[in-house]
């Protein structure tokens, strides 16, 4: 369903207001450290399996595809470099972000959406608690801190997945693969590879919390909010990735 430009501007304004309140709220008491740790556990530890699987199979497939192309140029020894750069610069952050949007963003939107339609958010406000501080700030902080760590895991496991395919399927020497991967990476790759997940984490958490907090229309509304959270977060990750890549390539290399 299309929305009018006026409504679109209003939605962006509301989202920006909530994001500003969340960031300012992070520095004011009460800090809800326990809620933040619970979210960090849920987002970080809870997403490890899916992130490792994503990283492993992405690295493995990337090795198969890139080695086939490189073999034509007699440069199969650069497979490790190609896989490592692709993973650290792009695939690790983007696929990790998309996975977190699907797993964590949908959960946030549906949880907060259910609380909204059952008056739990209003009850919380009536009891003197600011729901932005209690519900949004811990989720945003936890996602921003956990996604870079998960991305590192995805990158490492992806290189290992690529190594497994390189050694056992393509009979490429392990040292050659690993040295090539190590030599190809420099600090700007690591900087970009860790900056992106911070931005993607903030995007997923803020968009998902916003979609959840503005839910209306009962259980159908919860489903709608959940879908919107995943779709908007995913699209924004891809759009922001383009701009971030351009910025990093322009200023950090």
């Amino acid at each position: 369903m299309l929305i009018s430009p006026k409504d679109a501007v209003y939605e962006v304004q509301e989202l920006a207001t909530m994001a500003a309140r969340a960031f300012l709220g992070a520095f004011r008491r009460p800090l809800y450290l326990r809620d933040t740790l619970v979210q960090m556990d849920h987002i970080g530890v809870g997403s490890l399996t899916i992130i490792m699987l994503t990283g492993f199979f992405t690295g493995a497939v990337l090795t198969l595809q890139s080695s086939a192309q490189l073999r034509a140029f007699g440069a199969v020894g650069l497979t490790g470099a190609l896989v490592a750069i692709s993973l650290v610069r792009e695939l690790g952050p983007v696929l990790g972000g998309l996975m977190i949007a699907g797993r964590v963003g949908s959960g946030m939107a549906s949880e907060l959406g259910s609380m909204k339609v059952t008056e739990q958010i209003n009850a919380m406000r009536a009891l003197g608690t600011d729901p932005i501080k209690k519900l949004v700030v811990p989720r945003v902080f936890a996602t921003i801190t956990m996604l870079p760590l998960l991305t590192i895991v995805a990158d490492v496991v992806g290189v290992v997945g690529g190594l497994a395919v390189a050694v056992f399927v393509l009979q490429i020497n392990a040292s050659l693969y690993l040295n090539s991967a190590w030599d190809a990476l420099d600090y700007s790759d690591l900087l970009g590879g860790l900056l992106k997940p911070v931005v993607f984490g903030a995007t997923v958490a803020i968009v998902s919390c916003y979609c959840g907090m503005r839910t209306h229309g009962g259980t159908q509304g919860v489903g709608r909010s959940t879908t919107q959270a995943v779709v908007i977060s995913s699209v924004l990750i891809l759009v922001f990735n383009l701009f971030l890549t351009h910025l990093i390539l322009t200023y950090a290399t």
Binding site: P30, M115, T118, E119, Q120, N122, A123, M124, R125, A126, L127, G128, T129, D130, I132
Partner: protein, 279 residues
């Protein structure tokens, strides 16, 4: 007929002071006017029963009183302080003065009954030893000391409303707002909740706004009072010798107050909408 005398003397704002006031409040949803310049005053110790059909603006009125929604026009005062335009943070100072029972109870489904009732005290970092006593006292008031470890999904609808009442009472508010607390409940459970509200009104003198469209519940509140007799709490029906003057009706229709007064005046009103509503 013998002249009826007020049992509980609340002469209204002049004598006991206005605890809550709405002044010319309007609220629009798009082009729809849900509340149209509504003005209302609640005296200390007084209970107002807001009647009206679905969509008449009753729940919106309560949310505006609680500061959960902002009015488009007009002002809201709690104990003389204007709350219109206060930030969420500033409202945190005002809200402990008010307790609210939501239509669907609004219990946190991931927390146990104990944690729900203790929620506000945990937020205030009250010592656990003190919290336990206060929670059990509040649950004792609503007769639910035995379900402390259960989760909201494991208790009945009536129990949920009573837990919500206990949670609202934990900070010992001066004002209670009830948003259709008996909606969807059987007569016996409704009666039990009404008795708790009467008890709060008559034994603890908590001011209240009771929103409902169920006449039976509304007239229970205007015709019965609670009193301690020989150490036992009794609910007594008013008779010809006195009336309950601290409880008044307010009728909302299409966002406007079309009636305000005692039950006798409501019953004898010739307004066509009120006549239709009462029958």
């Amino acid at each position: 007929m013998k002249a009826r005398e007020p049992r509980i003397d609340t002469e209204g704002p002049r004598e006991s002071g206005t605890i809550l006031e709405l002044a010319g409040v309007s609220r629009f949803f798009g082009d729809l006017c849900v509340l149209d310049r509504v003005s209302l005053r609640l005296a200390r110790g007084e209970t107002k029963i807001i009647l009206g059909g679905s969509g008449s603006g009753k729940s919106t009125l309560l949310k505006i009183l609680m500061g959960l929604e902002a009015p488009d026009e007009g002002s809201v005062y709690i104990e003389g302080e204007e709350i219109t335009g206060l930030s969420e943070r500033e409202m945190g100072r005002i809200r402990p003065k008010i307790g609210m029972v939501f239509q669907e109870s609004g219990l946190f489904d991931s927390l146990s009954v104990y944690e729900n009732v203790a929620y506000r005290l945990h937020e205030l970092s009250v010592p656990e030893s003190e919290i336990e006593g206060r929670v059990l006292k509040a649950l004792g008031f609503v007769g639910l000391e035995t379900v402390v470890d259960k989760f909201p999904a494991e208790i009945s609808g009536g129990m949920k409303r009573r837990v919500a009442l206990a949670r609202a009472l934990i900070s010992e508010p001066d004002i209670m707002l009830y948003d259709e607390p008996t909606a969807g409940l059987d007569p016996v459970t409704s009666r039990r909740i009404n008795e708790l509200i009467i008890r709060l009104r008559d034994t603890q003198h908590v001011s209240g706004i009771f929103v409902t469209h169920r006449l039976r519940d509304a007239f229970t509140l205007t015709t019965e009072y609670a009193e301690w007799r020989n150490g036992e709490l009794r609910f007594v029906q008013e008779d010809g010798t006195f009336c309950i003057s601290n409880t008044r009706f307010v009728m909302l229709h299409e966002g406007k107050i079309i009636f305000e007064g005692p039950d006798e005046s409501l019953r004898s009103s010739q307004d066509p909408y009120i006549r239709k509503f009462l029958t």
